[in-house]
Amino acid sequence: MTMTITHTYEVPDISCGHCVAAIEGEVGPLAGVESVSVDLDDKLVTVLGGDDVAIRAAIDEAGYDIAG
């Protein structure tokens, strides 16, 4: 039994539906990721499950910088 971890990232560059789709497209298929939600207003990416390093790489691959 493994515990599902919720990762939250602040991505300031998110500004339109395209951005949301791009991040969901890159992060969603990662191993262990159960769900991805991108909040356009608060510019937050919330990922249920998955590995932090892989998620960060995926967001970078989508073309976005994580704040902090």
């Binding site: 560059d13 998110i14 500004s15 339109c16 539906g17 395209h18 951005c19 789709a21 791009a22 989508a62 073309g63 976005y64």
Partner: protein, 733 residues
């Protein structure tokens, strides 16, 4: 001809590729594409501009257009190479073709649908055949735009058109094929809506194309070739820094450089806006594209290509236009909330009919009827019709309005910035008042003497003096001292006088009172010119000082009062010295004066006002004003200025009369309010019919009446603009 793959830069073997990127919706999209392209193997650098929708990729030969395209497509966007990119003329032609087909098919469609006498057995099937290509071929742009918008959760005018016409077509076809009892077909409604809206779009596309391209105008300003010292002529691209070239009188300076030989006056007014040609000699800098007026010069190039001042200004204009937020179109804004409301009403009536134990067919009839009636066919005409009549009236008054977005900007501006030279002032030199003379000398005689000599010179200051008085007599000997003035003998009624006109250093002695007068003239921003005669011992003594300055236009003060009436705060912006600017500012009654601003910084001053919360209109005429015109929320060029200023502006006032700017603002505001009225009534007639549709009584007569009335209203309402009169009576030709 655009070089796409052949535009090789020197060294490194890099190839430059320019493509248009489609589908970007925000600035992050652009930076994302840029990042991905930069990471592509073989790509050296990539630059994606959200505003212009252009990507520039520097790459080695292992990368091709297909690689770039597939990278961009993998991100959910698309590219088209410049050859494929929609050029405004193609777009206009595209709309025209779709419109013609729609119009040709809709005409018989309307006749057989509306005129009972023309209906024959099975006419509905003919209507289906006529309407189908109109809805799906002519109207294809609306459907594809609707799908794209829906992906981003937004609704526009396209959504309304697409939804209404597809609903009408589908419902009519269901009625026809299933032979529903009591069913009516609405093919003509769909056909008419698409035809009218395509016509409206075509009007707009045509108006936009005519507004042209600032950068093309900019490029055409400069010289095309340069003449080297040995007489060979080389194209501008062949010129390198350090090369020396010759500029003969009347020619444009090929590129920025420093004078190494010769002496002349260079007219830089097109770049600086200053009316006085600048005297240049060895060691002085000259700017490319300025006009050499008198002597021959040899210039050593100090900057070429993108480094020249002209190119830098071009860049500033480009940047300013890029940052200028695109104003959403009025009809789209209305559609943004209208469409969801209509869909909601449609849904509610569907549910309402079902829960009240009616048949599914009745419920669907009502729901679809709401969608059909809600699509106002006058909507397509509301904006273009208003713009067409408004711009037509504007043209009669000497005001050129570029497109519909401009109108909205005129409503919200609350500050207006006026360039001084050539806008508030005449932009050319004239003698101001009577000359100041030493005791014993007659100022008017001195002026007449100066006028005689200066009639021989080409210099604009000379022209101003020559125009100010009748010459004192025939000129016998004449000599021009470059940069200092002229000397000569004038045969006057009282004998031959050896005289001189020019700067201080031309004279051997200048009396103290003249020195004081000159200081005062120069402090006010004017140029002081001395007149003197030769004494018996051969010394050249100054007798009078003539004040030459750019004069304020007669109409400027009145125009500024009009701006105040319109609720605008007026700022005077100039590169001139503070004293001169304050003097003019006081004379015409502006609220604020910003002086001593470098040409390149004018856009910054406009931006500062914007950051202070103002919506700014900028009025200017020179190339140096172009970036500021583009930066402003509303750029207004006065027609006496350069093409570039006109291209960078939203509004152009053909006359140099500043009152016409007030007219332009008033007319634009009036046009906007007419368009708003149009939009309101275009919707209102249809909105009024929505409840009838929801309650199942969509009588075809009501639908036709709603459409007819709203169109008639839009046309007659727009025609009211023809009676617009400004602050002054229209000029009669």
């Amino acid at each position: 001809m655009t070089n796409t793959l052949d535009d090789r830069t020197a060294g490194g073997g890099l190839i430059r590729l320019d493509v248009d990127v489609e589908g970007m919706t925000c600035a992050s999209c652009a930076s994302r594409i840029q990042r991905k392209l930069t990471r592509l193997d073989g790509v050296d650098s990539a630059n994606v501009n959200f505003a212009t929708h252009k990507a520039t990729v520097m790459h080695d030969p292992s990368v091709g257009l297909d690689d770039v395209r597939s990278t961009v497509q993998s991100l959910g966007y698309d590219v088209s190479s410049p050859e494929e990119a929609a050029d405004p003329q193609d777009w206009e032609r595209h709309l025209w073709h779709r419109f013609v087909v729609a119009a040709v098919l809709s005409a018989p469609l309307v006749l057989i649908s509306m005129v009972m006498a023309l209906q024959f057995d099975g006419w509905e099937w003919v209507a289906l055949a006529l309407a189908t290509p109109v809805v799906f071929w002519s109207g294809w742009d609306f459907h594809s735009a609707t799908l794209t918008n829906l992906r981003h959760g937004s609704t526009t005018m396209d959504t309304l058109v697409s939804m209404g016409t597809v609903a009408a077509w589908t419902w009519s076809t269901v009625v026809l094929v299933a032979d529903l009892p009591g069913g009516h077909v609405y093919y003509e409604g769909a056909g008419v809506i698409i035809t009218l809206i395509l016509l409206g779009k075509w009007f707009e596309a045509r108006a936009k194309r005519r507004s042209g391209d600032a950068l093309r105008a900019m490029a055409e300003l400069g010289a095309k070739t340069a003449r080297l010292r040995d007489g060979t002529e080389v194209p501008l691209e062949g010129l390198e820094v350090g090369m020396q070239f010759v500029v003969r009188p009347g020619e444009k300076v090929a590129t920025d450089g420093a004078v190494v030989e010769g002496h002349s006056a260079v007219d830089a007014s097109m770049v600086t806006g200053e009316p006085v040609p600048v005297e240049v000699g060895v060691g002085d800098e000259v700017v490319g594209a300025t006009l050499n007026t008198s002597g021959s010069l040899v210039v050593e190039a100090t900057a070429v290509g993108s480094q020249t001042m002209l190119a830098q200004v071009t860049k500033l204009v480009e940047d300013a236009q890029g940052s200028h937020a695109e104003v959403q179109r009025l009809a789209d804004r209305v559609a943004g909330f209208f469409v969801p409301v209509v869909i909601a009403i449609s849904g509610l009536s569907l549910i309402g009919w079902l829960v009240t134990d009616h048949s599914a067919q009745d419920a669907f009839t009502a729901a679809v009827a709401v969608l059909i009636i809600a699509c106002p066919c006058a909507l397509g005409l509301a904006t273009p019709m208003g713009i067409m009549v408004g711009t037509g009236r504007g043209a009669q008054l000497g005001v050129i309005i570029k497109g519909g977005e401009v109108l909205e900007d005129t409503r919200s501006v609350d500050a207006i910035v006026l360039d001084k030279t050539g806008t508030v002032t005449e932009g050319r030199m004239a003698v101001a008042g009577e000359p100041v003379a030493v005791p014993g000398a007659d100022p008017l005689d001195a002026l007449a003497l100066a006028a005689a000599l200066e009639a021989r010179s080409e210099h604009p200051i000379a022209a101003a003096i020559a125009a100010a008085s009748n010459p004192a007599g025939e000129v016998e000997g004449f000599e021009s001292h470059a940069g200092r003035g002229v000397t000569g003998s004038v045969r006057t009624p009282v004998g031959v006088v050896s005289a001189a006109v020019g700067r201080r250093d031309l004279f051997d002695s200048v009396p103290g009172e003249l020195e004081a007068a000159m200081v005062q003239m120069e402090a006010g921003g004017a140029t002081a010119v001395l007149v003197g005669t030769e004494t018996a011992d051969g010394s050249l003594d100054a007798l009078a000082a003539i004040e030459v300055s750019d004069t304020v236009k007669e109409t400027s003060a009145e125009a500024i009062a009009a701006f105040h009436d319109q609720g605008l705060e007026v700022t005077l912006l100039t590169g001139d010295n503070r004293r001169a600017a304050e003097t003019v500012g006081q004379e015409v009654g502006v609220d604020r004066v910003i002086a001593e601003v470098l040409p390149a910084d004018k856009a910054d001053e406009v931006r500062a006002l914007q950051e202070a919360g103002h919506r700014v209109a900028m009025v200017g005429d020179g190339i140096n004003d172009a970036p500021a015109l583009a930066q402003a929320d509303l750029g207004i060029a006065v027609g006496t200025g350069t093409d570039v200023a006109r291209e960078a502006s939203d509004l152009t006032v053909v006359t140099g009369d500043l009152r016409a700017v007030a007219d332009a603002i008033a007319l634009s505001r009036r046009t906007l309010s007419i368009i708003k009225g149009n939009l309101f009534w275009a919707f209102a007639y249809n909105v009024a019919a929505i409840p009838l549709a929801a309650f199942g009584v969509l009588n075809p007569m009501i639908a036709a009446a709603a459409m007819g009335l709203s169109s008639v209203f839009v046309v007659t309402n727009s025609l009211r603009l023809r009676r617009f009169r400004g602050y002054r009576p229209p000029r009669s030709k």
